[in-house]
């Protein structure tokens, strides 16, 4: 029996979109919902009370980062992630896979989850794989990597990822998978996908706690047939819900999501991993996604970019210097109801910490 319950309350008449309620041991999430990312057990610049006040219902933390710092054993002793960080609502952790594999070619080449235009296939060329070797080595059993903090060697396997996530103790955890670069050749994608599927089964078998829900991850990169195969394989396993991960060609995300969601069982929650552009969220919702997470909104906020109904706004713009009006008219967030563009502009120019907070609050609260 699953530790979460998912109730669909409304459905689009045509299409996959739905609204529902996800019940977890730490409370409900009204879906569709965006989970702010609290990489290191804190959503950068915010307090848990501020998260609640702006309407965040669930926080996603990163297994890779917490494993290295402060260590999952420490968080277990604290009573788990929520107690450690003083966030009393639902929490999630990713599997650590994305960060570990990003230590390889993805970081070095500046590759994100989304390919710019058409991904150029390096046919049959194993360059992608061999480039990993310095920081990360993959085998069928798992992955060996070096910490980005101190260079020490570590190893993640499906069993280890689950054990770490059980120590961290979030309400929702993910199976260990191998995301691939958008530039990976098809032959490599196929190998990675077969590992991801084997690791999904091992993740399920490794799970011991029954107060956590385990979500399986569909991969397959930009190949529709691989996505279909992966969705079928993962859907057949007894997961409590599903994540859709990996790389996309930008304009094709909506197609991949629709394809996968038509295969996944309707009655379980679906999380589109690491996707958080406003347009992608709207399209994902229409295609039946219930949960999203992404560092992008909070990251761009800290760089001074505010999301508004009229597009992105760079708070550094000199034109803001004496604009004594809210960052966004008709916005009910704390920032817009208490401060002016001129003041937030000043805080960013002066490199004042409060600027990060005010921009993050607005950008997470932002609604169209």
């Amino acid at each position: 029996m699953s530790s979460i319950r998912f109730t669909i309350e409304k459905k689009l008449e045509n299409g996959l979109g739905r609204a529902g309620v996800l019940t977890t041991p730490h409370g409900n999430v009204e879906t569709p919902a965006f989970a702010p990312v609290g990489t290191l057990a804190t959503v950068k610049a915010l307090s848990p009370e501020e998260l609640w006040e702006l309407g965040a219902q669930v926080v996603l933390a990163n297994t890779y980062h917490l494993y290295l710092q402060p260590g999952d054993a420490t968080i277990a002793k604290a009573g788990g992630l929520g107690k450690f960080m003083n966030f009393h609502g639902p929490t999630m952790t990713d599997s650590g896979g994305f960060q570990v594999f990003s230590l390889g070619s993805a970081y070095k080449r500046g590759v994100t989850k989304i390919a710019k235009g058409d991904a150029e296939e390096a046919q049959g060329n194993d360059e992608h794989h061999t480039e990993h070797t310095q920081l990360m080595r993959i085998d069928e059993d798992g992955v060996t990597f070096r910490s980005h903090i101190d260079g020490t060697e570590h190893r993640l396997t499906p069993e280890k990822s689950i054990a770490i996530q059980e120590n961290i103790g979030a309400d929702i955890i993910f199976s260990f998978d191998e995301p691939t670069s958008p530039r990976a050749p098809r032959v490599y994608m196929e190998q990675a996908l077969s590992r991801t599927h084997a690791w999904a089964e091992r993740s399920l078998a490794a799970k011991k706690r029954n107060d956590q829900a385990l979500l399986g991850i569909v991969q397959g990169g930009r190949y529709h047939d691989l996505r279909e195969h992966s969705a079928q394989f993962i859907a057949a396993l007894p997961f409590d819900g599903f994540g859709i991960g990996g790389s996309y060609v930008k304009d094709d995300i909506v197609n991949v999501v629709a394809l996968v969601n038509r295969i996944l069982p309707e009655d379980k929650p679906r999380h589109l991993l690491g996707i958080g552009e406003v347009e992608d969220i709207f399209e994902g919702i229409e295609q039946g996604i219930d949960l999203f997470d992404c560092v992008q909104p909070t990251r761009i906020a800290r760089n001074g970019t505010l999301l508004t109904k009229h597009g992105r706004h760079d708070i550094f713009n000199a034109g803001n210097k004496e604009l004594f009006e809210p960052p966004e008219w008709d916005c009910a967030c704390y920032t817009c109801t208490h401060y002016t563009k001129a003041y937030v502009h000043h805080l960013f120019r002066a490199k004042e910490i409060l600027g990060h907070r005010l921009a993050t609050i607005h950008t997470l609260f932002f609604r169209v």
Copy 2:
């Protein structure tokens, strides 16, 4: 008629100490009180609501910094400092003198307001003065200096300082003065003091707004006879209250303060400028000081040093890693009632912004 009212409610039976209420156009300050410093119209890492909640009654901002960034004209257009920064309580600005003069020898030599042990007199040697010349030039009329931000040349005079402070619009402002390095020779101190006195008269004459209170500043460095002379001179002028500024020999602060306060009129508030070590605050209160300000508590907090009843605590200490107890037992601040040493330790190790906030809240709230 003064824009502030100061009522003494209780006095020490023996000695100068007293408790009172300072009424300003933006509310009351129960004295003795410590004013957190909001250099650039923000107390670093905190929101105005957090300041209220931890018991801060008044904020002091720095004229020099706000003049350069965002500019006092911008703050005037915003409706003044309090409106600009969303702090609705009483505010103060210093005169800009300390920062400008610190651009000279003080910064270069790492000199603070307090000399380490006996100040070594450079008898009749003008080295102190001439070392200023690159960033700062003093004449009888005022001081010319270069911005620490972009090197542009600016000039402050008593009239200019008051005009800037009137633009910034705090409830309490200070006369323009010349603080001196603890290492300045006596002959230089005498010259500086005569400028400070002339500038006090010019500051009074320059003042136009009648909704701000102007406090005159007593200087005189480590020389008791100069302090006595200065206190007599400044006390005789129609100021709304008094600041005691300048440099001290560490163990002699209490004597200087007692000497000056026996001369200053009892019925007006007294502010000990830039002094904020816990011991100095207690001694200052006993000797009749009503108001304090200092960047030190907030600065050390951001560096990970918490003030506690048992002395300073370095939150980076490895021993905190798994200490799941409040940073200080029996402390009622937000930090101590919501977080553990282990978590704050983790935030500082991980360089997370929330750490600065939690440490600052505790250290400003801290009471013995």
